[in-house]
């Protein structure tokens, strides 16, 4: 259950695991969510509700976040 002052977003890391719900404080930015998930912002592109978004964009309750690892090196 979402606590007061928290929102729930649906997160999917492409190619790694199924979508899951993550609770974060209100006004959380994508970059904060990435930190929480241990993802480096330099290595991923994020789709917010299906559209590529800047990592400083703030999340709202019910948002869908897709994380695509694009920096693979090698």
């Amino acid at each position: 259950m979402t606590k007061l002052g928290e929102i729930t977003v649906k997160v999917r890391v492409i190619g790694q695991r199924a979508a899951r719900k993550v609770r974060v404080p209100q006004k959380t930015r994508i970059t904060d969510l990435l930190d929480q998930l241990g993802q480096n912002r330099e290595t991923v592109v994020v789709r917010l509700n299906g559209k590529i978004a800047a990592e400083e964009e703030r999340l709202a309750d019910g948002d869908s976040v897709e994380i695509l690892t694009v920096v693979t090196g090698g």
Partner: protein, 325 residues
Amino acid sequence: MLKCSFCGRRAVYNRRYAGTLLCDRCMVKSVERRFRRAMGEHRLVSPGERVAVAVSGGKDSVTCTHLLADYCARKNCELVTVTVDEGVKGYREKSLPIARENAELLGVEHFVVSFEQAFGATLDKIVKLAKRRKTEFNPCTYCGVMRRSLLNQAARELGADKLATAHNLDDEVQAIMLNYIRADFSRLYRLGPSYQPREGFVPRIKPLREIPEKEVALYALLRGIKVHLGVCPYAGGIHTEIRDFLNQLETNHPNSKFMILRMFDRMKPHLIAAVPEFEMRKCEVCGEPTSTSICKSCELLQGLGLKQGQKTLISAKSLVNIAAS
């Protein structure tokens, strides 16, 4: 909603090292501008030249091919694409069709050359042999040396004046750091936007050298270019450690990658002055140019008990026919 610093549309990217937000259109334009600037500033290609671009099917090489196709059409140059099939099961067979599809889409000739044809063994087999023989080298050493050798041979065979590779800012900075860590002076001084090697080698160019890897990926995604985003199963070791370190550094201190590159570029003229003179010879085994009696790829192959065979270039169309029959 965050807005583009230039046109006010919805931003898709925060270019922290420049302090600007970019929308999809401005992002695409910016990458194209930076590519053209690199081509012009360093005179990477001259009108009328034939350019071979190494394309794996990954985001960097496919993006580089798209940008070069447009550039070559404007500059009256001819572009051909070359894919090296190293023979990595579950990896290359996924990216190779994407390389071919993009070449067809752009109306560019596509050639495939494989480790198996040229060296008598796939990289998978080479890795197994290396493990069995307990050599000191990792898969990236074999792959890097042999791929470079094959690309040079293919480019020369195709009559190319330049060989373009899709090394981006991240790749170049990683290479600078790696050569520092290994104290490898001879590899360090060769880094740069272009390299004019000795006779027998096709001059190499790196048009994406000043574009961060993430921006190359964004460009491909925003333009809807079909790319392969898989990871080589052999990736790892010190390369990955350096990459992770640099990405963490860039996150905490934006612009670090560019600063490392700029400092290296400032130092490079002084490094060149310290390069020792050496005589170019022909490899005693394969006849390819080398500074020693045996080239590095033959040396590695001999260490595995393999002998370098004859290189064969196959057009992509004939490969499809072979697969169909």
